[in-house]
């Protein structure tokens, strides 16, 4: 799996993502500067990592969504390439129009860093084939604006088309407002685009991939992607 990580000024989890991709795919990802106008030839997966692009002084992700490299990403996604956006990356993909909805400030109006439990809603996607449907995984969040909001029609479509891939749940997998870390609508933590090739999610699977560090629940996402491309090859 050849992956490319986008680097905007102010992005700060690109190293975490690069390590996770290196450990799971055995291949060093390419780092793509925001002013580049093309992705490296042969890119399988584009990752928009977490951070505070351009300081997030304007609406989160709004400036990055208009960076030169994003035209190449739109084209890549348009022809079916897989795109993963995590945290600020999710916000950027929403701002870029590649995913519907918006990430508002956390309900408690504070930045929150803690491990959360996610229910993997489906396992029959390129991104979640490394998990079982209904599986509960533990991964960290670290964000101030992760409260997913969309209009009723969009939400109905997301739910109806099975495009909600991750939801904040209690450790036993049940929906519980107390475990919905940022107050997201319908406890949505991650969604797919209509074509199923763009995933945005607030939690950080890249921080939970190493056995020596303890929890490895984030590994399934990357291992699944590696598997996907291995089979495609």
């Amino acid at each position: 799996m050849r992956s490319a990580i986008l680097v905007f000024p102010g992005i700060n989890r690109e190293r975490d993502m690069a390590r996770a991709l290196r450990l799971t795919s055995g291949r060093e990802p390419a780092m793509v500067w925001h002013t580049d106008t093309a992705l490296p030839a042969g890119t399988d997966l584009v990752v928009v990592p977490g951070g505070f692009s351009y300081g997030d002084y304007l609406r989160c992700g709004a400036i990055a969504a208009r960076a030169p490299v994003m035209d190449a990403v739109r084209h890549f996604a348009g022809v079916g390439g897989l795109v993963l956006g995590v945290c600020n990356g999710f916000q950027i993909l929403c701002e870029a129009g590649l995913l519907p909805g918006v990430l508002m400030r956390n309900e408690a109006l504070k930045f929150i860093c803690r491990d959360v439990y996610l229910k993997v809603e489906r396992s029959d996607t390129s991104f979640t084939r490394g998990y079982n449907a209904g599986q509960v995984i533990r991964v960290p969040v670290a964000h101030g604006e992760g409260n997913y909001v969309a209009d009723a029609q969009t939400l109905a479509r997301l739910e109806g088309e099975g495009r909600v891939l991750f939801r904040y749940v209690a450790p036993d997998g049940s929906l519980d407002a107390a475990w919905n870390v940022n107050g997201a609508t319908a406890a949505i933590a991650g969604i797919l685009n209509e074509a199923g090739n763009v995933l945005g999610m607030m939690p950080h699977p890249e921080n939970h991939v190493e056995p020596r560090m303890g929890v490895t629940d984030g590994r399934g996402l990357f291992a699944g992607l590696v598997d996907h491309f291995r089979q495609a090859a």
Binding site: G55, C113, G144
Partner: protein
């Protein structure tokens, strides 16, 4: 010389914080009346914050050397060798005054400043910690300060992209008018690629990097060198505004040009901005500096020389570049969208010359500005000893179980989750032990090594006995590092006190430094960097003496670090260290008996070392399954914390002395360990042969904490009390 600058009057001199005798010294030095800009420069260099004039002679007594110390105090940060060609660069610094005036920006720029100190030396920051002290929770301003400071620390560190992995938060009415915000940053560098402030070579370009200069923060360092009165709010304009985004760019750009070998010397612009950084680079290198202010990138039009020289705008650096690398360095900075301007050069003359327009605005001897600032041996009185409080003179007002629940739900002992969940503590993917344990553990690169990091001090001990309090602060940091299995290597100290012009306060400073020095010596734990913050007082009322210690230790194999959580039921619980039932200055005495009195527990440094060395060896040999140091609140609080961290209860034997003194005494040099039955026997044998007191306390198991003869408390009930106070307080519920 300059025209249209204000005339120098005695009022103007006083406003600049210079005493008449200091001004006379200035006149003697330069042989004429200074210009307004020169007066500003002197005030910036000779204030307490930049010159350490009241503390210098005492700081010189601190042990600063060890075979693993690469750079001790005097540079931007301390540097220690951790093997494998790697070095750790770290320092702690206060941002107390600004944080009280404007908590969010004050705390944020405190974090920004200390991060710059670390990456200025060529290190990539890998962790931040902090130590926060606020006033009485019931004080009307406290909640606002806590909310702002915590948000500011998080706002800066989270955006910059460094995990904030540890710290402490305490409350006491003596901080009502002066909160303390001490921020520590830790970075990793190649041991042979450390960058220093000392300029070398004549005619080398001096380059200004980073954000533009504005009118913010003018006189920040001078403000930080005076006590507060009623009008502290009016000083708001002296507080700078932080921009973590620019700092992140500055980090990446600096590390990139360092890697390309462009840099001769580098100094961040912190306190007293352009003045301090330029003077330090020149003075350290025995060189002169000429600055051309017309070239300084400014955010506002019409800034005067005075304003530019004293601005404390953030996210700026000054560098002496290798001339042949200028174009390459400029291209890197342009790529990151940062300002890059040649603003001067090094000269042979040892003069500090500042030009603006056609005029010379300052022409001063550079060594005297920096190295030869006034040094005071201020009069001090030793703090009177306090009587020892006998346990038999403390009648327990409530049963042990009730006291425990109240203690762990009190502001100082309760869970600080509300605070540290606002800090990204997992970014970079190397956080092995998160906040809430004895020390944070952060993996070095991909391992196997890891650093243990902690911040500690017990101000009420320092108030009661500065020497013992100083010893205790160092010993507790050393102990916390030991408890996770680390070998303590070095520390940074952040000395927060009231006015040094008051002999009683000066006595506290001298006493604490004496205690710190003794402990550093006995524990082979040198000071490699530090910061002194004086004049922490409002309307003549000083803070508790607070010499915060930031400790760094090394773990060879991070997967073998220990945590405080019980690991399984039916394991033996052991106490390492002596039992005397010392209640003087304990939290039990304060929180349960409403008495703040007595001598603090003494620190026997020989025993401290013996006990700690044994515990570290037991961890290395895999004998101890859980380890926790015994500190604030005493033994039962420590055991309760181990139970809460695991959800496993404990059954404890009856107290061998008066129960309240046994369970809540704060004797020093102690650890609680758990072990399997076989390991426990081995541990006891090892302790006996090492001459270390050891005692069985009981065993783990069940869902309650039960001390024989006392009411059992469910672990769930403990957790509820532990977690309740902070969120309830911040929501306005309790005072």
């Amino acid at each position: 010389m300059a025209s249209n600058e204000p005339k120098i009057t005695s009022e103007l001199i006083a406003e600049h914080g210079l005493k008449p005798e200091e001004y006379q010294r200035l006149l003697d030095l330069i042989g004429r009346e200074p210009t307004f800009t020169e007066l500003g420069i002197f005030s910036a260099m000779w204030n307490e914050h930049c010159s350490y004039k009241s503390s210098k002679i005492h700081l010189r007594t601190l042990p600063t050397k060890a075979p693993w110390v690469i750079q001790g105090p005097g540079e931007n940060a301390g540097v220690i060798d951790i093997g494998d060609g790697l070095a750790v660069v770290f320092k702690m610094e206060s941002h107390n005054h600004p944080s009280y005036i404007e908590p969010y920006q004050g705390a944020a720029t405190g974090v920004g400043g200390i991060l710059r100190d670390v990456f200025t030396m060529g290190a990539r920051p890998i962790a931040c910690l902090n130590a926060l002290r606020f006033g009485d929770p019931a004080h009307p301003k406290t909640r606002h300060l806590v909310a702002g400071v915590v948000a500011g620390i998080g706002g800066y560190g989270n955006s910059f992209g460094v995990p904030t992995v540890g710290g402490l938060v305490g409350f006491h009415r003596r901080y009502d008018g002066n909160c303390l915000v001490n921020a520590m940053a830790v970075g990793l560098a190649e041991a042979d690629r450390i960058f220093y402030a000392k300029a070398t070579g004549v005619g080398k370009p001096i380059v200004y990097l980073g954000s533009k200069t504005g009118r913010d923060g003018i006189h920040g360092a001078t403000m930080a060198s005076a006590e507060f009165g009623e009008s502290a709010e009016e000083k708001r304009p002296t507080v700078q505004v932080g921009d973590p985004f620019s700092e992140k760019l500055l980090l990446e750009a600096c590390l990139e040009i360092m890697a390309k070998d462009c840099v001769i010397a580098i100094q961040d612009m912190g306190a007293a901005g352009l003045t301090c950084s330029a003077v330090e680079m020149g003075a350290k290198g025995d060189l002169g500096v000429v600055l051309d202010l017309d070239a300084v990138p400014c955010r506002e039009e019409g800034m005067s020389a005075y304003e530019m020289m004293l601005s404390e705008s953030q996210e700026r650096m000054l560098m002496v570049l290798k001339p042949e690398k200028e174009a390459e360095a400029e291209a890197i900075f342009r790529k990151w969208g940062l300002d890059f301007a040649v603003v001067g050069e090094t000269t042979p003359g040892k003069r500090f010359i500042v030009r603006h327009g056609a005029a010379v605005m300052a022409d001063l001897p550079i060594k005297e500005l920096g190295d030869e600032a006034p040094v005071y041996d201020r009069p001090y009185v030793e703090t009177a000893r306090r009587p020892i409080v006998k346990a038999s003179d403390v009648a327990p007002p409530v049963p042990v179980a009730d006291a425990l629940l109240r203690l762990i739900g009190s502001p100082d002992l309760c869970s600080k989750r509300w605070v540290w969940e606002q800090y990204d503590h997992v970014i970079l993917g190397n956080t092995v032990q998160r906040p809430g344990g004895d020390a944070a553990v952060v993996r070095v690169l991909d391992g196997p090594k890891a650093l243990a990091l902690t911040t500690d001090v017990t101000p009420r001990y320092c108030e009661a006995d500065p020497v013992e309090g100083g010893k205790q602060a160092v010993a507790e940091a050393w102990r916390n590092l030991t408890a996770v299995g680390a070998r303590p290597l070095a520390l940074t100290d952040n000395l927060n006190f009231g006015s040094p012009e008051r002999p009683e306060t000066m006595g506290q400073l001298v006493g604490c430094i004496r205690g710190i020095a003794q402990a550093c010596q006995a524990l082979d734990f040198p000071v490699v960097s530090g910061n002194v913050s004086l004049y922490n007082e409002t309307n003549g009322r000083a803070i508790l003496p607070t010499p915060t210690i930031g400790g760094v230790g090394l773990i060879d194999e991070f997967t073998r670090s220990t945590t405080l959580a019980f690991k399984a039921a039916d394991q033996a619980i052991l106490l390492v260290g002596e039992v005397t039932g010392w209640l003087g200055q304990s939290l039990y005495l304060r929180e349960i008996c409403a008495r703040e009195e007595g001598a603090p527990p003494p620190v026997d440094l020989a025993a401290e070392r013996r006990n700690g060395d044994l515990v570290r060896a037991l961890i290395a040999d895999g004998l101890a399954s859980a380890v926790h140091d015994v500190s604030d609140g005493g033994l039962l609080v420590a055991i309760a914390e181990m139970a809460m961290a695991s959800g496993i209860g404990a059954k404890l034997d009856a107290a061998p002395i008066a129960a309240h003194a046994f369970w809540f005494g704060e004797e020093q040099g102690r650890y609680v360990l758990t072990a399997t039955a076989a390991a426990a026997a081995a541990i006891i044998t090892r302790a006996d042969s090492a001459g270390v007191p050891i005692r069985r306390l009981g065993s783990t198991g069940g869902d309650a904490l039960t001390a024989k003869g006392e009411r059992p408390i469910l672990v769930a009930e403990l957790r509820e009390s532990f977690e309740a106070w902070f969120p309830a307080y911040m929501a306005g519920g309790v005072a």
